[in-house]
Amino acid sequence: MSDTETDTTEPETLDALPLDTWHRTKGGRMVPFAGYEMPVQYEGIMAEHLWVRESAGLFDVSHMGQLVFSGEGAAKALEALLPGDITGLKPAKMRYSMLLADNGGILDDLMITALPTQHPFVSSEVEKRESDARERVSTSLDTNGEGDAAQELYMVVNGATKWDDLGYLREHLADEITINHLDYRALLALQGPKAVDALDRIVPGVAALTFMTAGAFDWQGHRLWISRSGYTGEDGFEISVAGDAVEALADALVDQPEVKPIGLGARDSLRLEAGLPLYGHDLDDETTPVMADLGFALSKRRREEGGFMGAERILLERENGPVAKRVGLIVDGRQPVREGAMVVDDEGSEVGKVTSGGFAPSVGQPIAMAYVPAASAVPGTTVKLAQRGKVHSATVTAMPFIPHRYVRAGASK
């Protein structure tokens, strides 16, 4: 017996994240991911997936890059690289966006938050000293607290792309814009319908946050930056915490009866069911926001004004329709069709590709994301998929596969 799928090549030296030992103690099966060793599962992907949908799961996403932008006009400057309305982002609000190449290809997808004027990440004097020692630029952030015009922005980017992102951002932003890589901070995600019960018990007040808003909270002398957001389609939170405090926080969270640690395997199946694309699989520098069906991230003002990387191509594509489009597929039968399978026409010629796929635990059958010709992108269309010499039939389906259960502002609970 052997895996038929080739493993993606990983760098030979793998760094350990702050929770490395914690994962191993909890029975996590560690695998190389984004240059680190990360837990792919604890008790099993299926059980973990279903647990998150009915209770709450704790994910370690410390591999992701946490960046803070400061300096006069940082938001305006970022609008040259992102197609979203960043200058109009109100303090403590966040937005999904993409880092674009000059041809309109997607270099990364990300979350960006407008921070309140005072740098909210540093609370204690100790943290201040540590942060200053690590980041020369932290000093400017800490003395920036008198409400002056310079808006700070917090960005979370993918782990596998963070170094390239930093290079690209530094290259394209003026020197006056400071980028502070908060690499001393860990990032946790607590996801599921009972996440709010568990987290509000140990960090009172978080229940007041609504989807895509964030705030600073204190926990046992540590400053947490918590947003109501995530990548599972469920209600939940993402928590930025200093690396030397993350283990105590993770312990406090899994001590709650609602919470179990969840690995990358379930993170992948959860986000797939939620219809959320994964960078490096469903998105890359050859796909544009329009092809990727992420048009919602092109803010109205930005569409009208243009002035971002790749705007000409992206806006033209939006007007005329893309050649190929990302769609959701429900696969007939029981056999999963995975990344790398071809979308084929009646003659068996390749007309598209599957970019993610697998058995969907909450749907109860195999699902996939694929790029298909525009003519085949209408929900209800039947497409053929070729994988290892076998042809499968699948139906184009509106995403998400499982309804999102975000807790939005103004919505009654």
Binding site: M1, S2, D3, T4, E5, V40, Q41, G44, I45, M46, A47, H49, G265, S269, R334, Q335, P336, R338, G358, F359, P361, P366, R388
Partner: protein, 123 residues
């Protein structure tokens, strides 16, 4: 009846000329939740080492190789509706297929239970 094992984590029970093939308990544990199994059709002639079946977990697809040459007598139809049987009872009800063994001398190249346990302990 004797049981033999391969380094690719298949087992074969031999009863006269009939072999029953499956994957080991260690293998199902490594694969995790099994969501699909494809077994060979009756009458298919297999040569030792041929890809004989496919097992798919939530994570990945894997090929199952036949530990011995022979002609398939039947695939385990119970796995069509309940592939989770492989997780529950990999070395029992979760068997994959039965075949008539063509050349029993091929069994000499396989491991017995003690050798396989030793092999797995070093992985």
């Amino acid at each position: 009846m004797s049981r033999y094992f391969t380094e690719d984590h298949e087992w074969v029970d031999v009863d006269g000329d009939i072999g029953t093939v499956g994957i080991t308990d260690y293998a199902q544990g490594q694969l995790g939740d099994i969501v699909f199994v494809e077994v060979p059709e009756e009458g298919k002639a297999l040569t030792k080492g041929d890809e004989a079946a496919v097992v798919e977990s939530v994570k990945a697809a894997s090929d199952v190789y036949t530990p011995v040459s022979g002609v398939v007598l039947e695939g385990n139809s119970a796995l069509e509706d309940n592939s989770g049987l492989v997780n529950e009872d990999a070395e029992g009800d979760g068997w994959f297929f039965k075949l008539t063994i063509g050349d029993k001398s091929e069994l000499d190249e396989l491991m017995d239970e003690a050798k396989y346990a030793d092999f797995v302990s070093k992985l």
